[in-house]
């Protein structure tokens, strides 16, 4: 005869297993989401030609995403999460720097060597 307590043990065990499974899935889901966000940011950086205009940040972000994915594959969710977050930040910097580099490039191309970069020559006899 099983006592009431005896009947409770298998139920508790099943509950704990279920909870553990749910928790793992939740952590895994969080890591995947972080990687997706970092990848999306990196694609944005790519569109801004970061691979060409901000290669340092672009390469680094790409490496961190790869590392994050690798850790996720080993179910090392905490590390995966951390590398994904770093990648997101670096990819955002890559995008920003690429845009800035693009602006400066166009500025240079629009003002070739020897011309007046600020148009001072157009002001006659007046203070700038």
């Amino acid at each position: 005869m099983l006592t009431a307590f005896g009947r409770l043990i298998p139920m508790l065990a099943v509950g704990l297993i279920g909870l553990a499974a749910c928790g793992g899935t939740a952590v895994s889901f969080m890591s995947s989401t972080a990687i997706e966000r970092a990848e999306a940011e990196l694609r944005g950086a790519e569109r801004a030609k970061a691979d060409e205009l901000a290669p340092y940040e672009y390469t680094k972000a790409d490496l961190y995403i790869r590392m994050s994915k690798e850790r996720l594959g080993f179910a090392d969710y905490q590390a995966a999460q951390r590398f994904a977050e770093d990648a997101l930040e670096i990819a955002a910097t890559a995008r920003k720097n690429a845009a800035e580099a693009k602006r400066l490039k166009s500025l240079r191309e629009g003002n070739p060597e020897g011309t007046d970069p600020k148009g001072w020559g157009s002001i006659k006899g007046e203070s700038p």
Binding site: Y56, Y64, N111, W120, G125, E126, S127
Partner: protein
């Protein structure tokens, strides 16, 4: 069953020990990579960005792997990191790797205006910033005839000079090429009659005259090289040495002449006609010469400059047989003894 269990236990212990021993080495190596990349980070970002990214990322991954007790992967990562760091270091030594956003030839770390080209106009050309108005006079350099010297618009940005060096700039100097005081608008004070008295102090600017007579010529006397010639006579009381008041203006002019020639020493000679006894005439002429000297002394002439002598009737200059001649012979003369 006991042997495998023991072997596993030994292996696990050894691996753990090895991991513990190798952890500091990985951290040290990662620290060295970090030091190397920090040394010329800007140059590496510009010239070897991918190698730098790998060096930094792999060093980070190596640290992580070590912290998780995975020494093999940690070693792989740190070796990759070191390889990339060395490559980045070697290939980013060139000065051009410092970066030059504005392309003015001045590397960004030394360029105070990395986004603006230096204008290279021989004015502060090393700071990397263009100076549109070097002298800050409000006129832009292309329009400024003197871009490095402040000057007003009406002089095309050049400062007004003071050509004659009289302290007035040429724009406010009515005579910019002639030295002149401010009160005369920079023009020289002329001396038209060249008597040494400037026109603004000369009451007779067109006629020469001594300074003490305000630039006008003497009316009653004339100063020559040898004597002060009186144009009229000095009148005395009859038979006495008392000078008549009417002769005071004449003697006052003599005083002025002596002031105007402060080094002159003068001998005052008294002369008479031949009427009366010679000894009397001698006394009278001396007394009159002395009276004239006394008058001049009273007007401030220094005693050492005046000698008085009576010559009586001994040196007539006209005929004593006529009244007109005798009148001429009764006289006082001023002879210049030394200058």
């Amino acid at each position: 069953m006991r042997l495998p269990a023991l072997a596993i236990a030994l292996f696990t212990g050894a691996a753990g020990l090895w991991g513990c021993v190798s952890s500091p080495a990985v951290y040290d190596r990662a620290g060295s990579v970090e030091k190397l990349t920090n040394e010329q980070h800007v140059s590496m970002v510009n010239c070897t960005p991918r190698e730098l990214a790998r060096a930094e990322a792999f060093a980070d991954f190596a640290r992580h792997e070590t912290s998780q007790g995975r020494p093999h992967t940690a070693r792989d990562f740190i070796e990759l990191s070191e390889f990339n760091a060395r490559k980045a270091f070697e290939n980013s030594r060139d000065r051009s790797c410092l970066g030059d956003l504005d392309g003015d030839g001045i590397p960004d770390p030394e360029d105070r205006c990395p986004e603006e080209k230096e204008d290279f106009d021989k004015f502060k050309d090393k700071d990397g910033c263009p100076e549109p108005d070097n002298d800050l006079d409000g006129i832009l350099d292309p329009q400024d005839r003197c871009p490095n010297e402040a000057g007003p618009v009406k002089n095309e940005g050049c400062p007004f000079m003071d050509r004659d060096g009289d302290g007035l700039s040429d724009d406010e100097d009515k005579c910019p090429d002639e030295f002149g005081p401010r009160q005369n608008h920079g023009c020289p004070i002329r001396d038209s009659d060249k008597d040494g008295v400037p026109d603004n102090e000369d009451k007779c600017p067109q006629v020469q005259g001594p300074k003490d007579n305000e630039g006008c010529p003497y009316k009653l006397i004339q100063v020559t090289d040898k004597a002060i010639i009186l144009k009229e006579k000095i009148f005395f009381a009859f038979g006495k040495s008392t000078i008549r008041r009417t002769s005071h203006p004449l003697l006052n002019e003599v005083v002025l002449a002596l002031r105007d020639h402060p080094t002159y020493v003068v001998r005052i000679e008294g002369h008479t006609d031949s009427v009366g006894r010679a000894s009397s005439n001698q006394r009278l002429s001396t007394a009159r010469a002395v009276a004239v000297r006394k008058y001049l002394l009273g007007k401030g002439v220094a005693p050492r400059r005046l000698q008085a002598v009576g010559l009586g009737e001994a040196r007539p200059i006209d005929d004593n047989s006529t009244e007109a001649g005798r009148s001429v012979n009764r006289r006082v003369e001023f002879h210049i003894v030394s200058k």
